[in-house]
Symmetry: D3
């Protein structure tokens, strides 16, 4: 039995050296990155059994993705291999003020956009403790939206906890499209992760984080709602109780994947029997730690996170 | 007035270091490459006025392509900028025996596939001495096939010499499709470059190079036919006369773009008033020189080629 | 007709990786840099037609410079090629406190020091809207001083606006030499850019920026005087009116070329019809943006600068 | 059930760039390499289920090894983590004639030298089809010698085919020591791989490859003996029949790991139901292919090897 | 006559690029580093004659260490070459908050641990002005402890000033072991450098820096005691007088070796005839300067330090 | 007493990666190289005491040169530091057929061109066993020509053997100038090294190597004449006896410095008491070994050369 299954798209990310721009680059660093596999990697590295389902081109590029995920201990046996579609890419130009970090997506027609429910090992989904995907997945294609809904329903029905992060991306759909997409899935979701910014932009939820959490929980009957507020920390609502968590100070080397590290840290601790407060603390520590590391994924060990958490007296900014 | 205009697709090429495979790569070298811009670069570097027409995404990636071409002196004012389609890519893994050099195309849905005749500066085409494209261009989309035909006809009508290299690519179309595509264009072509291998595979032309050249010239009324035979050298047929040329010995560092360097060297010398024999010699020398250089394009000077040609006594393998 | 012509020296800059010193370096990054071509690059990238005149050795090194400038869209047809003199260089060691960034010039006997008036395309100068050089140029040789004076006079006479940045360099001449050199040129200058520090050190102008500007304008009859004050922002005096501009906050990756980006941004906006306030704002935004980019030149697009300017509410430090 | 289990030491290999020497190096490439894991990687990449058993320091360095092996699909759950001993290393300086490629071992006191039988999952050994180690393993410590013997006996008793490559290393033990060490294990070995050179140096077996194979098989009752003869090809003796195989021509980029790729290719084909001739052919093809790739391991796919084998007409040197 | 002799271990340090972790590294930067050679390098670069004694493996790795030290002008003729033991290593992962910079030692069984008194050129020790080692040396082996004591006594007896930095390392011995080790040497030490943190942890010295210094001087009869307090600056007690010194502000690129640069700067100035205050100022300036440079050693010139010291008004944080 | 003193210019060499051209380079490898210091390095690494005299700019660049030479064990105390002139450079583009390896000198106005006899430690010259320079040195300036003559005469008079390699460089002087320059020095030279090609081009010596050697010895009374014939091997004439030596086969990675390695190997063996035949053999082996190593200098050990020499049976091509 697997602790965690996730599904979604993983891209190759191509990024020029710091201080260089895409339009003059002569060299790209290559890494694999995608919200759901980032979560699986964090959980696997923190000691959980984690598997990732997806569809990739049967090419060196698809194998490149799988090789990197396996190196972190994520099971990739459920990947479906495709002969016709592309490997999704994104170009990443790291910026510093006033030049923003710039992401250029090149994920149209990626193999994963054709992933159908029947191609996923649903028994593995049923046997898992937690099944996770993010709001990026249903945004990628109509097919994937349907697959997402099916899988979450299958999981929930089997008693697998379903977890979902809104992960709103303006370059993929409009707020209205996203709102409709999310609402179609909310019945099948037990644990919701939401950036407060996304809850406001897409779902029109104003007010402070607690009222956002309470409102969402009330409207959609989520078991748990975790609201993240950037530098302001995070908040979880579970069984009517509210838990707050500050962020651990970090010098940011690479901010990409911070949110996924947060979810991965949360789920890893939760799956290890941690309560909501502990899970939230691990989420925050894993997210901060990720910021110091090049690449999408949190190259962490349990000891790394324990050390951050133990320094809580000093390291937390409230 | 421009000496040479070319049009077609230019991709970004992404290649891992020597000895590494795509599926374990952590770094890609980035360069711009495409048959028609490769020809324009060689000609421009050898002293001709050369312009390249195409359509590129209005993104850092499209600008990346234009910047590199401009650095070699190619005029890119005629590039059309597009907001919806992709920048074509290809991945290049350099191999040595028994591991073949492997090219993985990722050019589907590239901006250039939507390039229509009306988007090209036809006056520039009419004013040029030579207008060049290759068999890759019509293979990329129905739209591009039509555009190719239009442009070649416009050029020919205006007295601009039209030049075309078969450049057959198995990954783009079947021999039958290619044969039909080529034949549809042959009327509008004055100077044909053909690898003997392509003439055989696609056009079913058997026999030695001379008979292939004579057959093609007879059937399609080309002014000039240049047949390349790899290590066996090349042969030109013009006004009924045959010219033969050996290859200059080279230690190959990067074979990609050798054929385009050949065409670029030929056209550069031809446009400079060289006769067929001289042009063929420059073609051969530029092609060999290219093999020593990383990347698709022939980073050459006229002096470089003159030096190769002057060493003919020693350096030619017949 | 060209919007902007600039002339001066462009060197190759050689710099070891961050954290390494010149005296233990095993690798240099290579880039082209020079005040006047930096200005031309910024203007060209921001949409203006820009040309750069100079003299370079007819060698791979001279062509290296031209290739990089062309990649940014600067016209280099006016470059004169020389068989006898050197390519100027500078070594750059990036430092952080308390180790200063160190520049070691190796520009003695550079080809440009022999550039005579007759070698410059004066018709192009006459046809341009603006003709720019900096105080570095006359400092390089007696010949260049005379050429500078000639060209500025030719320009002014033809109605081309002449622009000049003091750009005082202690390693090239003493304050007294520089003062004499500048004064000899001031009659031929319409728009003066001056770091307040230079105005004080070289020209003995004390007082606040406005009084410096008013004093210089009064004494030398400049149309416009722009005084830069580092982190304190900048100030322009035109037609008796004063315009002030703060700096946009930036995390500095590479400070070299910031002043040139300022001038380039100013002239680009001015040539696009911007008024003094707009031009000053673009100057400031382009300068800040430059700081985030490796190399001498501002690899920018108009959209980049528009975005900085639009964030003015947040991003300006006053 | 696993197709193949291997056990032994895997080191980090540290190598300076080509053309540089260890004693002036400023940069090392880092890779994981060890005879038995190299075999497991080749087999896993060629489609078999392969697991590797060993003992590693519980440190980033030990995890570095495991991560790389997992990326190729090798199961590493059986690795034992150690708190007291070192991660074995080897330094590799690539040479060309007359400078030999130089290996400097730094494997003293490595964690694996303390690996005891009781720390290995013997059920997994019993369940496997083939259990492999090489002559390096018993050479590393008395403990490992005993463990090697135990594991091979357990395997053989359970009906798991045991395979062994002499892999004689002069820097680890003398020929006499090695001969004694090997002979102590031969009873427990079903399939022997032996470089003819090692058979001669260590076991005193003169004569041609066939007589060496027949002699060894007769004396120690091996099911199969495979003798490799470098550029002369290889030979297998099984059930009294002899099979010969030439080498596939290769341009060598990195010769390290060629022998392990040979064994991995052999076992992969054998485990897939290939007969001796087929297995020998895959062994040879995988070995040649490996030579083109940087690092200890054969980054191959089944398609790569099929392509080499299919070119047999051209590519084999006899 | 040599100004300074130091003895101890120098390791190769292996570090992945910034932002990468040891466990995913594919490349290590290689440098030589060790407390006592770091001190010798700083002193040599600042103009003193400095020699370093040690024992290294007679291998490319040992020669790698010697080559780097010689490049900075340190005499290494006294190095003893060993055929049996290892080259000590340490792996360095640079971290930023909340990920600590991590040092993994791999120095067990290093050649230096067998260095005996008789292998050191004691005449050179007697002829030197200052003889230095640090608390790391006696911690490495019983043999080295005895050698350390012998050499310091020989030096002191001959009138060579003996200097010692506590340099407590938790990974080498416990506080109690260290305390006993230090006390056994204190009689032979004239000048003691002590981090206040070490004085407290190991020697149980509480109170402010001055009282620590006075206590140690009183108890062990040191000529001079220098106490460093990190960002709080440093303090020297000599002949009953106290000298205080702030730190020069620095942006830290690489903190490793800062303490050794401090000692090296102090001794260099002292050996040049500087008084205690001057020496302390140079110590502080050299330490700050070191922070900006990649690697263990302070790649400085006297001019660099003079410039830092001259900026004292601005640059000191008190 | 020093075994060997050499004097001459050492430049920084700047070279782009293999396959790249100077005119598109973005990165240069940096190394120190010069005929006379190359000889000193080879001799020092092969166990001799070697010192190098020259004049360098008192800048990080001059120190860069000295640091690299010292790392190989060459004494550089005799270097004179200069405040006014340049550090000589050369750009090196590695080529393969038909693109020649290209050297672009940038050594005009180098500090060494002002080196006068009085600035050299003549006592050290007198105390040495051998004093070496090459024909490059007198070609660099009139001053250096005079200094060269003085130093060789001082050496010869003191009984120091003087050695000289013609080292003709077409980019420095014409054959006639060189012939006059050489002849002015020949009286002061004991051991002459001459490429047969140079002897013919500059000195008009036709015939086979032996007759060239005999002719030169007869005309100028050299003790020893060593003639090198590229792939044909070398020949020495001493005391009327002729010694011949083939070349050791080598795969060339970097041919620059091969001739200097030859001289360095010869002198090292000679200074170690080797006879002419031995010295010639070491010359040949060191030269071949050098070809495998990046950079100007032969990074060798005595063991490396002994190994090459011992393989003579196989490795020599006659």
């Amino acid at each position: 039995m697997t602790d965690l299954v996730t599904f979604g798209e993983t891209m190759l990310r191509l990024s020029p050296p710091r201080g260089e721009r895409l339009e003059t680059a002569r060299e790209f660093e290559v890494q694999a990155g995608g919200a759901e596999s980032n979560v699986a990697v964090a959980a696997a590295r923190l000691g959980r059994d984690a598997a990732w389902f997806s569809k990739l081109p049967d090419s060196p590029l698809g194998r490149r993705v799988v090789g990197e995920l396996r190196s972190h201990g994520v099971a990739t046996d459920g990947v479906v291999w495709d002969d016709e579609h592309r490997q999704g890419l994104y170009y990443l130009e790291h910026g510093v003020e006033p030049r923003p970090t710039n992401v250029v997506y090149d994920r149209a027609d990626a193999a994963v956009t054709t992933l159908e429910t029947g191609e996923i090992d649903l028994d593995a989904v049923r046997d898992a403790d937690v099944c996770y995907t993010s709001g990026i997945t249903p945004a990628l294609s109509t097919t994937l939206h349907a697959t997402t809904k099916d899988v979450l329903e299958v999981a929930q029905e089997a008693g697998t906890t379903t977890a979902f992060d809104l992960n709103y991306r303006t370059k993929l759909w409009t707020p209205d499209e996203a709102a409709a997409g999310y609402r179609d899935l909310f019945d099948a979701i037990d644990v919701l992760f939401a950036a407060q910014r996304d809850a406001e932009t897409v779902l029109g939820r104003d007010g402070d984080a607690e009222s956002v959490a309470r409102g969402l929980a009330a409207d959609y009957d989520f078991e748990t709602v975790v609201v993240t507020r950037g530098a302001e920390g995070s908040l979880a609502l579970a069984d009517g109780d509210v838990y707050e968590q500050g962020v651990y100070e970090a010098e940011t080397h690479d901010a990409i994947g911070t949110g996924d590290a947060f979810v991965g840290g949360y789920l890893a601790k939760h799956l290890d029997g941690g309560d909501v407060a502990d899970s939230l603390q691990w989420a925050s520590a894993t997210a901060s730690f990720k910021r110091t590391i090049e690449g999408d994924v949190a190259v962490v060990t349990p000891e790394d996170i324990e050390r951050v958490v133990a320094d809580e007296g000093d390291g937390i900014s409230r």
